[in-house]
Symmetry: C2
Subunit: 195 residues, 2 copies
């Protein structure tokens, strides 16, 4: 029997199903029919909540960006260096677990639309601001600040490491997740000195 839900709950449920399905396929392969079926509603009713397929995709991708930020949010009661480590461990775990889906978040295949690029940029900007904050550099969160450019690019470095590393067969990986994070922190320290 179809369950009647308030609009907000229904919307959240549908986005949640989209997120779950994103684990195994990139956004542009998400099937509206499959999402509606999983929710036990008609395709027509889904379009009542999200007028177009694009609206639904944007909602799902935005939720994916928020989830990345949430999952990597460190415990604010820890010292800043511990927070940074915690954030990076969570980030590496996140990328490893959902590698294909994460790559499609980074590298597009966005169904000919730019919303993935935008959500991705905003997520990276938030992570950059968070790291600057942990480094005590929150006052320099301006686009042209050399430290901000360095931290933003360092996140690209860590992301690439995490993608390549998690793409290797487990036995071939030259380091543990912890060592990858240690390397990343050492890289940040040394790159900051150059900027």
């Amino acid at each position: 029997m179809r369950q009647r839900l308030p609009a907000e709950d229904r919307r959240r449920q549908l986005v949640g199903i989209g997120l779950m399905m994103l684990r195994n396929r990139p956004i542009h392969e998400l099937s509206i029919d499959a999402v509606a079926e999983e929710a036990g509603i008609s395709r027509g009713l889904l379009f009542h909540y999200f007028p177009t397929k694009r609206d639904f995709y944007i909602a799902v991708i935005s939720a994916a960006g928020r989830r990345l930020l949430r999952v990597t949010k460190p415990d604010p009661t820890l010292p800043p260096d511990e927070q940074l480590r915690q954030m990076l461990l969570a980030f590496v775990a996140f990328v490893s677990r959902r590698r294909d889906s994460y790559i499609s978040f980074v590298r597009g295949a966005a169904g000919g639309d730019n919303y993935v690029v935008e959500v991705y940029s905003e997520t990276r900007a938030s992570l950059t601001a968070r790291v600057l904050d942990l480094l005590g550099e929150s006052t320099v969160d301006q686009p042209a600040s050399p430290v901000r450019l360095t931290v933003h690019a360092w996140l690209a470095y860590v992301e690439d490491l995490a993608i390549e590393w998690s793409g290797l067969p487990v036995d071939d990986r030259p380091s543990s997740p912890e060592e990858l994070v240690d390397h990343s922190i050492a890289a940040l320290t040394t790159l900051r000195r150059l900027s």
Copy 2:
């Protein structure tokens, strides 16, 4: 009057037009009609050379990847460190000149297809192999080699710097292209020591 060209020349001409148009728009916004018109042929004849729109897009994106490799190819008679500098200066210039198009190469908007991701990965792998070669590390071009992982991720770092830097108004940029390249080389030296 429509010019008659041998098949290979026609194919090359069409891809060349596609490449030119890629300067101002991402691949998925490339209009087949506009390309055919520019070549002075019918849409039908274009599809004679490239059976589907996707075939044409793949040809154009592959050519874009080859062009990046060609443009950044250093003079092999120079000492390795000079070659690295030359390559990076060309890379920064390439990204700056075609920023939007380059971002769509990196970040997708690939019309719901994975070919851009693949061409991008191959191009990055070639650049990585080239840098390893210049560093005298060509023997370690194996996916799981720590030096290879570092160089691959360092290219992501340089790419991100070049994208963010060239997105700033010229007067706001905190460094010249030469300084950006100096920083990138110093970063490579220091990151290599960590790996």
